[in-house]
């Protein structure tokens, strides 16, 4: 993993001292619209760059005002510990992400991070299928990159689900790390036509499945893989309040009762989840 001194030049300045072990003020060092309404941001956050693991998220404050009020959670896309930079990838879907998309290199950013659980890939996994729907690709991108560096020889299959060709991105990076990269689009404009779960049978050979995406997609994968003898882990989303485990606002239903996406999650054993509610 090479650090990118040029792109992250601003990141080379002295970092703002951490506000605490989990609360940082960083600077935007990279802001690029890589596809329509899809942005990649790099933040100078040395501690986060050192500590964040695939699946974990950052909880961003968007403005100093009261609307939007709450922070917004985003999975970590990857980290450059040498530069002290952590990156996210996000899609503009509402007010908060619109404000975020307006930030420019040099702007400050207030971050709680790294938060939540990470993907745990057992040592014996030789072949891992990564199945990301839409921006669900983000934590899996990080996972692919980290595993490639940490476990030479591991075989990665990457399945990228999207509505159409223009919502498929960063495939070049993924191809560097993965033996097989498949795009699946609803309109067939890139790769195969259909939805990710339609192709789940092709993941049969994997020692583990790691996935992330909309709840209907996860529900379908849950059904298909129900009796497979391999771990199936998923990164989930939820409306979040604190991000710290205090408000109990972000729970999902599991076989052991309600669990917090921000603390026990976002990465869960998919089979433990009851995804009937909500949709």
């Amino acid at each position: 993993m090479t650090d990118r001194a040029t792109t992250h030049a601003i990141g080379m300045e002295a970092a703002t001292p951490p506000l605490s072990n989990r609360h940082f003020r960083g600077q935007v060092v990279e802001a690029e619209e890589i596809a329509p309404r899809i942005w990649v941001h790099g933040y100078r956050l040395p501690e986060v760059a050192r500590r964040a693991q695939p699946g974990q998220f950052v909880h961003l404050r968007l403005n100093d005002g009261t609307a939007p009020l709450l922070r917004r959670p985003f999975s970590v896309l990857d980290v450059y510990p040498g530069d002290g930079v952590a990156r996210i990838l996000f899609k503009v879907v509402g007010t908060g992400t619109q404000i975020l998309a307006g930030k420019r290199p040099g702007d400050d950013i207030d971050v709680l991070a790294p938060l939540g659980s990470a993907f745990q890939v057992p040592e014996n996994v030789r072949r891992l299928t990564l199945a990301g729907g839409g921006i669900g690709m983000v934590p899996l991108y990080f996972l692919a990159k980290e595993l490639t560096a940490a476990r030479p020889g591991i075989e990665l299959d990457y399945w990228f689900g999207a509505r159409s060709a223009e919502e498929v991105y960063l495939l070049e990076d993924l191809r560097q790390w993965c033996k097989r990269v498949e795009a699946v689009t609803e309109d067939g404009s890139a790769g195969r036509k259909g939805r990710l779960p339609d192709y789940a049978q092709e993941w049969r050979g994997a020692d583990m499945i790691a996935t992330c995406g909309p709840i209907p997609m996860l529900r379908a994968i849950q059904a298909t893989t129900a009796d497979w003898p391999v771990p199936v882990h998923a990164a989930l989303e939820s409306f979040m309040g604190c991000g710290l485990g205090a408000c109990l606002g972000c729970v999902l239903d599991t076989v052991d009762g309600f669990e917090r996406v921000c603390t026990e999650g976002p990465v869960f054993d998919l089979r433990r989840l009851n995804l009937e509610v909500p949709a």
């Binding site: 605490s20 609360h23 009261t66 709450l70 710290l244 205090a246 606002g249 509610v277």
Partner: protein, 315 residues
């Protein structure tokens, strides 16, 4: 009179009848867990007090998701009093409460129950630990079908509840009022008559959000409680109204985001304030409120922060 807060000549201590706080900044129930969740961000022992997450006798799973949603300058929640129950509280959470209590932070239990008897049982059980500084009766949670809300909106039930709980403890008894009443001052009067030492307000407002495209309510419980800056003007008015109606001290809350908001609550008549939703937005808000109030007192030449209470000048 106690020593002034460190590094300043402003006396930050406040005396709320039987409850003494080293400073007037508290955290609101349900927004600060049991105090442990924020430890990595700052030392909660700097707080004047902490309202613990609501406790019930039995553990409660809480409501189905979705439980929270953002609204203009506010948020809805429908947690449904999820909590570990009183026994697991003793096993797992009490030690940290004891630690904070030992450092002079008033740990206040927020009690929720469906019957007068359960409220009494909660008090009885909590009397067995000396780390609890006061009881706050949560008669105003809008998020459970049968969860105490009727106590907060029915004057007769409220009077009976407070009168029934009062003899069970010599500790300060705080009644947390529901805002969805015609006359909040009257509910305060009833609480005080029946034995409350302190009034805290406001709890969240019953409210609702709808997903127009899906044509469905967003929260699984359909309605939830509105908190945050959106309700601050309503909360301020209620604190002001209760201040005219009763003589006991008031703990004000509802949308406090910074020291200025806190000062407004004190001026309107509160003796202490609790930070709620702001803990989610900017977790060090209580620290900044405390510093800001000290600075405000210095600038306005108040020797004691308690001099701010009710110091509003009317036109």
């Amino acid at each position: 009179m106690s020593a002034p807060a460190t590094g300043t000549n402003v006396d930050m201590q406040v005396t709320l009848g039987p409850l003494k706080l080293k400073n007037p900044v508290m955290t609101a129930s349900g927004t600060f867990g049991y105090g442990t969740e924020y430890r990595e961000l700052y030392d909660p022992a700097i707080l004047g007090g902490v309202f613990l997450k609501a406790l019930t006798m039995a553990p409660r799973p809480g409501n189905k998701p979705w439980r929270i949603y953002e609204t203009p300058s506010g948020m809805l929640n429908s947690i449904g009093l999820q909590n570990v129950g009183i026994e697991e509280f003793f096993e797992k959470k009490e030690p940290f409460c004891r630690e904070l209590a030992g450092k002079g932070t008033a740990m206040c239990a927020n009690l929720a129950a469906q019957t007068v008897e359960e409220f009494q049982q909660l008090v009885e059980r909590l009397e067995t630990t000396d780390c609890i500084a006061a009881y706050e009766l949560n008669v105003s949670c809008p998020n459970v079908k049968k969860g105490g809300c009727q106590f907060g909106t029915d004057p007769t039930l409220l009077r009976e509840l407070v009168a029934a709980v009062r003899p069970g403890t010599k500790r300060p008894l705080i009644v947390k009022l529901a805002p969805q009443v015609t006359d909040v001052a009257e509910m305060a009067r009833i609480s005080v008559d029946a034995g409350a030492d302190i009034i805290s307000l406001i709890n969240t407002f019953p409210a609702m959000a709808i997903d127009a495209e899906k044509r469905r309510p967003i929260l699984a419980t359909v309605t939830g409680g509105l908190s945050g800056p959106a309700i601050k003007p309503i909360a301020l008015r209620m604190v002001y109204a209760v201040r005219q109606a009763v003589d006991v001290p008031i703990i004000g809350m509802g949308g406090i985001m910074n020291w200025k908001d806190a000062a407004e609550f004190l001026l309107a008549g509160a003796s202490a304030v609790a930070v709620g939703t702001a803990n989610f937005v900017h977790p060090t808000t209580p620290v900044e409120v405390l510093e800001g109030l000290q600075d405000y007192c210095r600038r306005h030449r108040y020797a004691r922060v308690s001099d701010l209470t009710g110091a509003l000048e009317l036109p």
